[in-house]
């Protein structure tokens, strides 16, 4: 059986990190009990954090992080050429992530704030799909390990690959949580794509939308509800922009 020209059990996966905290890559290495099973099915060839074996051939490239330097652009393009399937891993790679907050400031100001007069090369932060074609996006800050493993295994075996389309609220209610909006918090659960098992509201903290927009997300009604609870537009926007994960939707909103 082949899928996209890849034979199962032999899929070679490369993991490549760009500008990020490496927290997503860490999810793959965490809970090693299933790492061992996972490694039985796929071969990790450029998993720099875990191995010093610098393999170079790979079928699937997992890209972690956003792009903020010229040499990163080049490296990303080279990876795209080699990889049969390119997958963005995590909110930074899919949307730019928290790094995008940098784009709200003047770049020269940002550099001098941190490094004084010493020049340091940096570009505005971009998401991976701004530069190369992305075959599949797995959002999350961090990604959920089980979701990544399920998706990679499905990719390799040719099964369908789906992310939930419904919002975080659905998962949150299934967990029987008290709604944090009623406790006075701002929560973006109603407009955010599920799949994290409502991680933040389950910890009694509002969702910040790291997984991007759910299908048919209604931003107007979210704003309405939150305004009624006494939250300012500024506070709501601050959260909607936190991960840059709604930039497309907010653009259309005008």
């Amino acid at each position: 059986m082949e899928y996209l020209g890849i034979e199962p059990k032999k899929a070679r996966i490369g993991v490549f990190d760009f500008t990020c905290c490496e927290g997503c890559e860490l999810q793959l290495a965490n809970k090693e009990d299933s790492l061992v099973d996972f490694l039985a099915l796929v071969e990790v060839v450029n998993f720099r954090e875990v191995s010093s074996d610098r393999g170079q051939d790979y079928d699937i490239a997992l890209i972690e992080g956003s792009i903020s330097r010229e040499d990163e652009v080049e490296r990303l393009k080279q990876i795209r050429e080699k990889a049969k399937i390119l997958v963005t891993l995590g909110t930074c790679a899919c949307f730019g992530g928290v790094n995008s907050i940098k784009n709200r400031f003047d770049i020269d100001d940002v550099v001098s704030e941190v490094y004084g007069k010493n020049k340091v090369e940096t570009l505005p932060v971009r998401k991976v799909s701004d530069i190369v074609k992305v075959d599949l996006a797995i959002p999350g800050c961090p990604v959920s390990k089980s979701e990544v493993e399920r998706i990679v295994v499905n990719l390799v075996t040719g099964a369908a690959v789906n992310l939930p389309k419904y919002p975080v609220c659905v998962e949150c209610k299934q967990k029987g949580n008290t709604c944090v909006v009623d406790l006075g918090e701002i929560c973006l659960g109603p407009v955010t794509r599920a799949g994290c098992d409502a991680a933040c509201p389950t910890g009694k903290t509002g969702c910040l939308g790291c997984r991007g927009a759910a299908e048919d997300a209604n931003f107007d009604s979210l704003r309405e509800i939150l305004r009624e609870k006494g939250h300012s537009d500024e506070a709501i926007d601050e959260r909607l922009r936190f991960y840059n994960a709604f930039s497309e939707e907010l653009k259309n909103e005008g």
């Binding site: 490496e22 860490l26 610098r54 941190v114 910890g203």
Partner: protein, 424 residues
């Protein structure tokens, strides 16, 4: 015969982030030894400007995927000290439990998955799955426990969700805590086995005298807040952290360097051990004796051993805290506060050393100015000077390029550097 060496390790593996080692020896003389960090700077200090104070911990957590609980706690402490918020005792204990989970998690990752392959002569942990299934199995069990500990207390191991300004948002159930306690108790046997395994390994014998900087314990082994201390006798209050770090820029790396009484100093498990040995629990002190570590120790490779000792100590301390929490029954976990302007520093011992966050908060409760200094920045200069001394000593002993290169790599790894966050 005069020795010539040209060692260039580009993107050292089994460390967080990207770093390069560069060594040149000509006619038996050391010409150059450099430790350079080449990560993309991410400008968190600038990004914090204008953010509401309650999002600062969530944002700075993303500086580092491994120390995300540590960054969250340092950020919370800076915000709380800036606004004069006191947090309830039970919340303090819950935060420290989450912190212990992270220390355990990070030390185990380092000792078993990043450093152990060197000691056992292989490339990565993957061949160890076949050659040393018992060691890998034990490491996996212990790490599983550490993960669950963070998940239960903080809601998530990487980027916690329940640690908030004023305290914590959510408490574990009594049942969860009891189970956790039992599991920690059961896993102490795995620590004993780890000690047995490490007894049989010989760590490189290398000494370069240096200064060790850490928090100063008052009544216990220190993790969150308090005075700063060094083995050269410097003591300063938390707020004076800049005088303890003295950051400076060198031209061959994007990360900054730091110094105190000498050209460099070290932070991390070995520094905490050297400064606070007397506060370790008895079992951890015994382990230190068995593994041949006594304060003040100047062999950087012994950082691996100090990490094992700390693993044991935090597990035992966690059991004691869980008992207290169960007895208290969580009456109070979060303080109310009114945001106000102010300045505050938060110093927290994260796995690799002291982490500092400092914020200035404006009248609207927004961050006006921020500064973060992470442990690896403090260690960079020490790694750098260690490399030069190590190479000199090894060349004298007549070691080959390959041997010296491996020792250099192991030296850098011993510090467990976290390069992605050192260029936050």
């Amino acid at each position: 015969m005069k020795v010539n060496m040209n060692i260039d390790v580009h993107h050292l593996t089994r460390v967080e982030g990207h770093g390069n080692i560069h060594v040149v020896v000509k006619d038996g003389e050391l010409i150059d030894a450099k430790w350079a960090v080449v990560e993309t700077p991410r400008f968190f200090e600038a990004m914090l400007r204008g953010r509401p104070h309650e999002l600062a911990p969530t944002l700075t957590s993303r500086i580092c995927g491994i120390c995300s609980i540590g960054h969250t706690l340092a950020s919370l402490r800076a915000v709380e000290r800036a606004m004069g918020v006191d947090i309830p005792d039970d919340a303090k204990m819950l935060r420290l439990l989450a912190k212990h989970g992270e220390t355990l998690q990070s030390h185990l990752l380092h000792v078993f998955f990043l450093a152990a392959p060197d000691f056992l002569g292989v490339d990565s942990v993957i061949p160890l799955i076949e050659s040393h299934p018992d060691v890998v199995g034990l490491a996996v069990r212990l790490k599983g426990l550490a993960n669950d500990m963070c998940d239960i207390i903080a809601g998530r191991t990487t980027h916690p969700v329940s640690l908030v300004v004023g305290g914590v948002n959510k408490v574990p159930t009594k049942k969860e805590l009891e189970t956790l306690k039992q599991r920690i108790q059961d896993r102490l046997a795995d620590v004993a086995t780890t000690v047995e395994v490490f007894k049989t390994l010989s760590l490189p014998d290398f000494v370069r005298e240096t200064e060790f900087v850490s928090l100063k314990g008052e009544n216990s082994y220190p993790w969150i807040g308090g005075d700063l201390v060094s083995t050269d006798g410097v003591v300063k209050p938390e707020d004076d952290y800049r005088a303890m770090t003295n950051e400076y820029k060198v031209d061959w790396t994007t990360s900054k360097f730091a110094k105190l009484s000498r050209e460099s100093f070290a932070a991390g498990a070995l520094a905490r051990f050297n400064n606070n040995y007397k506060f370790l629990c008895d079992a951890a002190k015994q382990t230190a004796e068995v593994l041949g570590l006594a304060p003040v120790n100047h062999n950087p490779y012994m950082n691996n051993v100090a990490q094992i000792i700390e693993c044991q100590h935090v597990m035992i301390e966690s059991i004691e805290m869980i008992d207290k929490l169960l007895a208290n029954g969580f009456k109070d976990i979060r303080s109310d506060y009114t945001p106000k302007a102010g300045k505050g520093v938060g110093a927290v011992e994260v796995p690799r050393g002291i982490l500092y966050h400092e914020y200035e908060i404006d009248d609207h409760g927004k961050i006006a100015k921020a500064n973060c200094i992470i442990p690896t920045t403090q260690n960079n200069a020490n790694i750098h000077y260690d490399l030069a001394e190590l190479v000199k000593q090894q060349v004298k002993l007549g070691k080959s390029d390959k041997e010296v290169e491996l020792l250099c790599e192991m030296l850098v790894r011993a510090y467990d550097p976290c390069i992605s966050c050192s260029v936050h």
